[in-house]
């Protein structure tokens, strides 16, 4: 049967720490061009699932497919090389460095010719131009690309972090609670930015506790409960209340309208996950 096209797909992901099973045969499906929200109660295994997708955790079993090709990430660097970039709640930027230095941190460009190869001179002009272009592409207005990040507001700082990952990600972007530390207005700025990242062609995985935020931007929602995905649904066909009910176990997942994802494979590997 035809499998729905996915950028990133996981089947039967399992990871346990001693006796604690953090993820238990979980599936994951991310389509091209969508914002997929991952929601779940504390302890549902969301963060372990995300770590497995970004290479921070190596699952005990299960398979990961990037553009339908099976991949194995042994470290975050592997995932990054494969084109997956992650934004975290905090910690993403260096406040004393300017915007351009932050966007190119760890990926600095040197000037062409002997000044670059012998003197290792950075091409600051090219990096500033690249940064200005990236910020403009995402509609982030800042006064100067040479501003240090500490002179920016919290929302703008997070915007720099988002611009940074969007600049380098070639496959998809994962955002782990990117607005948790922000106020309402700044949250809206970042949510708006997340939509622009998607509109510019990068699918986004958004981990969030904030249901209104999720329904504001996400196309689909992945509900995680007791270590596995219990539902995958369009945000347009599911209410927040129903999602919370499924998330907490108050309502069985099969009673809501779900998206179909290669059902036989899903059943098959879900059963195998614990083995």
């Amino acid at each position: 049967m035809s499998i729905e096209p996915t950028i990133l797909r996981a089947r039967g992901l399992t990871k346990s720490y001693g006796h604690v099973v953090a993820i238990d045969g979980s599936s994951f499906d991310l389509r091209p061009g969508e914002i997929l929200a991952v929601i779940g109660d504390n302890g549902a295994g969301k963060s372990t699932l995300i770590k497995a997708l970004t290479g921070a955790v190596v699952p005990d079993s299960g398979a990961l497919y990037l553009d339908d090709e099976q991949v194995t990430f042994h470290s975050p660097l592997d995932a990054r090389r494969a084109g997956i970039e992650t934004v975290y709640q905090e910690l993403g930027v260096a406040p004393a460095l300017d915007i351009s230095q932050n966007l190119y941190l760890g990926r600095e460009q040197r000037v062409p010719g002997w000044r670059g190869t012998v003197l290792r001179q950075l091409d600051k002009k090219a990096m500033r131009e690249g940064s200005a272009r990236q910020m403009a592409d995402l509609g982030i207005r800042i006064q100067s690309i040479r501003q240090t990040v500490e002179t920016l507001s919290g929302g703008q700082r997070q915007a720099v972090a988002v611009a940074r990952v969007a600049a380098w990600a070639t496959r998809l972007v994962i955002m782990d609670e990117p607005t948790a530390a922000l106020g309402v207005r700044e949250t809206n700025q970042v949510l708006d930015l997340i939509q622009r990242v998607r509109d510019n062609g990068l699918p986004v995985v958004l981990i969030s506790h904030n249901m209104p935020n999720v329904w504001q931007v996400a196309d689909r929602v992945h509900i995680h409960r007791l270590g596995r995905r219990v539902a995958l649904a369009d945000t347009s066909s599911l209410t927040m209340d129903d999602a919370v009910a499924v998330m907490t176990g108050a309502r069985p997942a099969h009673t809501i309208e779900q998206v179909e994802t290669a059902p036989d494979e899903w059943e098959h590997t879900a059963g195998e996950g614990a083995a």
Binding site: L77, R80, T86, Y88, L91, G92, V93, A94, P95, A96, L97, Q101, L105, G106, R107, E108, R110, L119, R120, Q121, L122, K124, G139, I140, R141, I142, Q143, Q147, T148, E150, T151, L152, S153, Q156, R185, N188, Q189, D192, Q195
Partner: protein
């Protein structure tokens, strides 16, 4: 559409926020503005109140009095930029001088010089490994290394001093005299090192990474920077600079004395901090450090010229350090809202 208005509002907000309070902040935060102003004030005050301060001979002396601490301070600045501190730099330099002094007895002075610098680099690597790999606090690591290296230098020499006779080893004390100003090769090396390290810090990827590691280590790590390797590199490069300071020291006083320069570590920290480099890491640089060194030396020199007790000089220097840290704190608090 709501989306479009939202975006416009966001953009308007961004512009409004960025707009105010930037002038004063950027002036305050600029690396060398504050220290340079302080240096100029000191120079003007001493020029007015003493006769000899501005004379070429005295200005040459200030430069020469600055080179050893100034060179140590350059290495110290690198370490402090990573939010570390190096209490052992004076001791490492002294180890360098005694290794050079003892090795020079065999006759090969070039080899002696190289051995001295290598000895410094090895101790720097020990510092760097303990800080980066073992994750120990730099303060404790370098305090321990300070004690060990100071004792080791004395054991190595039986607490004896070695006079240095050779021209190459003391050449940094020589130099051309132009119009009454004597510019020693040591002063030239100090300035050259400042410019060189300034280039590395501001124009190379390694420099940016040093700042990033000092500023926000988790962010640096997430950006794929090998934080431990950068830290190790900083301590080794700093120690090589201390090795060059050992050469400077032999140019100033042609004796390898294992008990000399016992307060050079604190003097170098003073110079770095007065020069505007933040003890919290990630902010500052070597040009400020050069100015900071000059401030300390000008203060001592000028107060001596004015006939003020040297204990008051220490009071002034100490007070200046605290003012410098306070300013740094205030600037930081204002910036990290």
């Amino acid at each position: 559409m709501t989306q479009a208005t939202l975006r416009q509002e966001a953009v308007a907000d961004l512009q409004k926020e960025v707009g105010h309070g930037r002038g004063i902040r950027s002036l305050l935060s600029h690396q060398v503005t504050g220290p340079l102003a302080a240096l100029l004030v000191a120079v003007v005050v001493f020029s007015v109140f003493t006769d000899r301060f501005l004379q070429p001979g005295n200005l040459s002396l200030i430069a020469q009095q600055s080179v050893v601490v100034g060179t140590l301070a350059l290495g110290q600045a690198l370490v402090i930029l990573t939010a570390g501190i190096d209490l052992a730099n004076g001791a490492i330099m002294v180890l360098g001088t005694v290794v050079i002094g003892k090795a020079a007895l065999d006759g090969d002075v070039v080899l002696a010089l190289v051995l001295g610098i290598v000895a410094c680099a090895v101790v720097g690597a020990v510092n760097g490994l303990l800080v980066s790999r073992a994750g120990l606090p730099p303060f404790i690591v370098t305090l321990g290394v300070l004690t060990v290296v100071t004792a080791a230098s004395r054991l190595y020499t039986d607490s004896a001093s070695y006079p240095i006779a050779d021209g190459l080893l003391t050449v940094l004390g020589d130099g051309p005299t132009i119009g009454g100003f004597t510019v020693t090769y040591g002063v030239m090396l100090w300035v050259l090192l400042t410019v060189g390290l300034g280039y590395v810090l501001s124009q190379t990827a390694w420099g940016v990474r040093v700042y990033a590691v000092g500023d926000n280590p988790p962010a640096a790590r997430l950006a794929g920077i090998k934080v431990k390797r950068v830290l190790l590199g900083v301590y080794v490069v700093a120690a090589i600079v201390y090795g060059l300071a050992a050469w400077q020291a032999l140019g100033r006083t042609p004796t390898a004395d294992p008990s000399g320069y016992s307060t050079a570590n604190l003097d170098s920290i003073t110079a770095v901090v007065i020069g505007g480099t933040s003890l919290f890491g990630g902010r500052g640089g070597v040009y400020g450090t050069l100015i900071g060194t000059l401030i300390v030396v000008v203060l001592q020199n000028g107060l001596t010229q004015a006939g003020i007790d040297s204990l008051y000089q220490q009071v002034a220097t100490g007070a200046l350090v605290i003012v410098a840290v306070l300013v740094d704190r205030i600037v930081r608090r204002r910036q990290t809202r």
